[in-house]
C-alpha cells in the first residue's frame, strides 16, 4: 500500500489549515494561512502550499476531508466532516489517552468528549456570543493596542487581574474601555480577560465532564498565560500539541484515511 496519501483541509473563520499524512499516519506537511474573505481560495492556496512542502502532486492524494466553517466551499474535497469530529480524531492520534478535547477556535470554542478510538461521544459549544473564543482575544488585543503575540506572553498568574465580569464581547469591550479610562495597567486587563475566557471554558468543561487526559487545540493554545490559568482552574496538566492549530486538519486527514480503509474492507467482503 505504498504511495497513498491523505489530507485534511480545515477552513476556519480566522485561519485555513492543511495537513497531509501518508497511509501509516505519518505527518508529511502542515500549513496554516489566514482565511481572509474567500474560503475556497484560501483552501486552494493552503492545499497547494502543503503539497509543495510534502513534495507531492494533487493526483497522489487519495482522500481529502474538508472541515471547518468553510467545509462546503472546498471543491476538491472527497468528503466533509465537522470540525468537532475532526478535532476529536486529531487529538486522539496525537495523544491516544485523550478523553476530552478543548478547542478554542476563532469563532467558537468547544469541549469534545471522545472514546478510546477517538470517536466523539458528546460535545458542547459556546453560545452565540463570541466571548471565550479567538475572536474575542483579537478584538481585545485591538482595543488594548497589543498584537496577539504580546497578548499571549506568559504572565505571572499570581499577579492582579482587573475584574472583567461581562460575558459578552461587546460589553466586555466597553468594560475594557472604562478600565483603560481609569488607567488600569494593561497587564491587569490582559490578565482579567484571560481569566474571563478561562471561566467560560471552565463552565463548558464542567457541563460535559472530564474523561481521561485533556488536550487543548486551536490557536489559543499558544497563549501561555491562558494555558497556565486554565490548568490551574481545572487542576490538571493539559496536552498541548506542537501545532495546536492543525489538529482539526490532521483529524480530517485521518478520517479520509479511515474512510479509504473502510471502503477496502467493504470491497473485500
Amino acid at each position: 500500500m505504498a504511495d497513498l496519501y491523505f489530507s485534511g483541509v480545515d477552513v476556519g473563520s480566522l485561519s485555513t489549515d492543511v495537513s497531509i499524512i501518508d497511509h501509516g499516519g505519518k505527518v508529511l506537511s502542515e500549513i496554516v494561512i489566514p482565511t481572509g474573505v474567500n474560503g475556497s481560495e484560501a483552501a486552494e492556496q493552503a492545499f497547494n502550499a502543503a503539497l509543495k512542502l510534502a513534495d507531492l502532486t494533487r493526483d497522489s492524494i487519495t482522500g481529502i476531508t474538508a472541515t471547518g466553517y468553510g467545509r462546503a466551499s472546498v471543491a476538491f474535497a472527497t468528503g466533509k466532516t465537522t470540525e468537532i469530529s475532526c478535532h476529536g480524531v486529531g487529538a486522539h492520534h496525537l495523544f491516544p489517552k485523550t478523553g476530552t478535547v478543548i478547542d478554542i477556535g476563532g469563532q467558537d470554542s468547544k469541549v469534545i468528549q471522545i472514546d478510546r478510538q477517538g470517536r466523539m461521544l458528546d460535545f458542547t459549544m459556546n453560545d452565540k456570543c463570541a466571548a471565550g473564543t479567538g475572536r474575542f482575544l483579537e478584538v481585545m488585543a485591538n482595543r488594548l493596542d497589543l498584537n496577539l503575540d504580546e497578548l499571549s506572553s506568559p504572565l505571572n498568574i499570581e499577579g492582579d487581574s482587573a475584574p472583567i465580569s461581562s460575558t459578552c464581547t461587546v460589553f466586555a469591550e466597553s468594560e475594557v474601555i472604562s478600565l483603560l479610562a481609569k488607567n488600569t495597567p494593561r497587564k491587569e486587563i490582559v490578565h482579567g480577560l484571560q481569566r474571563s475566557i478561562v471561566n467560560r471554558i471552565w463552565s463548558m468543561v464542567t457541563s460535559i465532564g472530564i474523561e481521561g487526559e485533556v488536550t487543548l487545540t486551536g490557536g489559543v493554545a499558544h497563549n501561555k498565560g491562558l494555558v497556565a490559568l486554565l490548568e490551574e482552574k481545572l487542576g490538571l496538566t493539559l496536552n498541548i500539541p506542537e501545532n495546536p492549530q492543525t489538529v482539526g486538519a490532521l483529524g480530517g486527514a485521518h478520517i479520509a484515511r479511515r474512510t479509504y480503509q473502510n471502503s477496502l474492507e467493504a470491497d473485500s467482503i
Binding site: T82, Q107, M120, D122
Partner: protein
C-alpha cells in the same frame, strides 16, 4: 378511520394533495366570511368552549416578521414568542376580530396579557384563562371546573347564551381530532407515515389555524402505510416549545435524520397521553382532557413524571437521540432542561441542545452542531 394506502406517495404530493392553505391567507378568507376569530396565545386553553360559541381560535406562536414595535414595550431579555406575539397584536390585524385570549402559561405571558389589556390597550377584548399549576388532586379538579364555568359565563356576556348541544358537538369534534392525531403520532413512531420532517410538522401545526372541521378532513386524508417504510435513517426525538425552524427540518431531512417523536408544547404536549372515552358530560370531558395531557414544564408538573414520559417515548419511537430546541429566555423549559439533559446523558442517549430566538435562518454554528450530532447518530446506527 384513516385511509390506509398500499402505495407510498411522494411527500410533496401529499402536501399538495392535502392542500394545506397558507396561514394568513386562510384566516383572511375566513374573516371575510364574517367568521368570529379570536387570537389565542400559547398554550393550553379549552378550545371546545370557543368553538361552542362559534369562535374560531387562531393561535399565535411565532408570527413571521421582524420584532420592531414590541421592543418599545418589552426588555431585550424577554422570550421571542412573547415579543413576536406582541408585535403581531400591535399591528391590529384585521383577521382577529373577536379579541385575544391569554392562557396562563408563564410569567412573561401572564404579564403580557395585563400589559396589553391595562396599559397598551387594544380595540378588542382581552380574555385570560388560568391553568392550575403543580401537582393535581381533587381540589385542583374542582377548581378547574370552576374556571371552565367562569370562562363560559364571561364568553356568554359578549356572545350570548351557550347552546349545550353545540358544546357537546365541539367536544365530539375535539375527541375525533385527538384520536386521529394519536394514530398519526403512532404511525410516525413506527414508520407508517411517509412524510418528511418538514411536512409532518406542517401538518401538525395546521391545527393552530384551521377550522376544526377543515383540520379534521385534512387528517382524514393522511395516508397511513400498511407496512412500515424501510428506514435506515437516524431517528430523533425533539423536545421544546415549537418544532425546529423549517430550515432545520429541511436540513435534517437532507442529512437523513427523521424526527419520529416529539415532546413539544405546541404539538404533543397538547395531545392526550392516552385515548379518552368519547365525551359524555362536556364539563367532565374538558376537565379530564386537561388532566391527561403529557407532563409539561409550564404546568409545573413533577420532574420524575416528565423523565419517565420522555424515556417511554424514546423507547417507543426507537429514537437514537434527543434534540432540545430551546427558545431563548424560556424559564419553564430551561429549568427542566438541566435534569433532562443530565439524565439522558447518563443513559448514554446522544443529546443536542439548540437555542433559538425564532430567527428566519439558522447560523453556521448551529449547522455545525447539527451535523456533528448527526455524525454521532450515524455512528450509533452503524453499530
Amino acid at each position: 378511520m384513516l385511509r390506509f394506502s398500499k402505495h407510498e406517495i411522494t411527500i410533496n404530493e401529499i402536501i399538495k394533495n392535502m392542500n394545506i392553505p397558507d396561514r394568513s391567507e386562510y384566516l383572511k378568507g375566513l374573516a371575510q366570511t364574517g367568521q368570529k376569530i379570536m387570537g389565542v396565545l400559547p398554550a393550553l386553553y379549552p378550545r371546545e368552549l370557543l368553538w361552542a360559541f362559534d369562535i374560531h381560535a387562531a393561535e399565535i406562536w411565532d408570527p413571521p416578521g421582524e420584532i420592531l414595535h414590541a421592543n418599545a414595550h418589552l426588555q431585550t431579555t424577554i422570550c421571542p414568542v412573547v415579543k413576536k406575539s406582541l408585535e403581531f397584536i400591535l399591528k391590529e390585524p384585521q383577521t382577529i376580530n373577536a379579541g385575544y385570549l391569554f392562557p396562563h402559561t408563564c410569567d412573561s405571558l401572564q404579564n403580557l396579557g395585563t400589559q396589553v389589556k391595562d396599559l397598551i390597550g387594544v380595540s378588542l377584548p382581552i380574555y385570560t384563562f388560568y391553568n392550575p399549576k403543580g401537582r393535581f388532586n381533587n381540589t385542583t379538579i374542582k377548581y378547574y371546573q370552576d374556571i371552565l364555568i367562569n370562562f363560559q359565563s364571561i364568553l356568554e356576556a359578549s356572545h350570548g347564551p351557550l347552546e349545550p348541544e353545540k358544546l357537546k358537538a365541539a367536544c365530539v369534534l375535539s375527541h375525533k381530532i385527538d384520536t386521529y392525531l394519536m394514530v398519526i403520532q403512532q404511525a410516525r413512531m413506527t414508520d407508517h407515515l411517509s412524510l418528511s420532517n418538514h411536512e409532518y410538522f406542517t401538518l401538525m401545526r395546521a391545527q393552530e389555524y384551521l377550522l376544526p372541521q377543515d383540520y379534521l378532513s385534512l387528517l382524514e386524508q393522511v395516508n397511513i402505510l400498511e407496512k412500515p417504510a424501510e428506514f435506515s435513517r437516524a431517528r430523533l426525538m425533539v423536545s421544546g416549545i415549537l418544532p425546529p425552524l423549517p430550515e432545520i427540518l429541511v436540513f435534517l431531512d437532507e442529512l437523513g435524520v427523521s424526527i419520529v417523536a416529539d415532546d413539544l408544547l405546541a404539538v404533543s404536549r397538547r395531545i392526550p397521553k392516552f385515548a379518552m372515552d368519547p365525551p359524555g358530560s362536556p364539563l367532565d370531558y374538558l376537565t379530564d382532557r386537561f388532566f391527561v395531557l403529557p407532563p409539561c414544564s409550564t404546568r409545573g408538573g413533577d420532574l420524575d413524571e416528565r423523565v419517565h414520559y420522555l424515556s417511554n417515548r424514546l423507547k417507543e419511537s426507537k429514537a437514537h437521540g434527543l434534540l432540545f430546541d430551546m427558545v431563548k429566555f424560556c424559564e419553564p423549559e430551561l429549568f427542566d432542561h438541566r435534569l433532562l439533559v443530565k439524565t439522558f446523558r447518563e443513559r448514554k442517549t446522544p443529546v443536542l441542545t439548540l437555542e433559538t430566538e425564532l430567527e428566519d435562518h439558522i447560523s453556521g454554528q448551529d449547522k455545525t452542531r447539527i451535523e456533528a450530532f448527526t455524525e454521532r447518530l450515524f455512528e450509533i446506527v452503524s453499530t
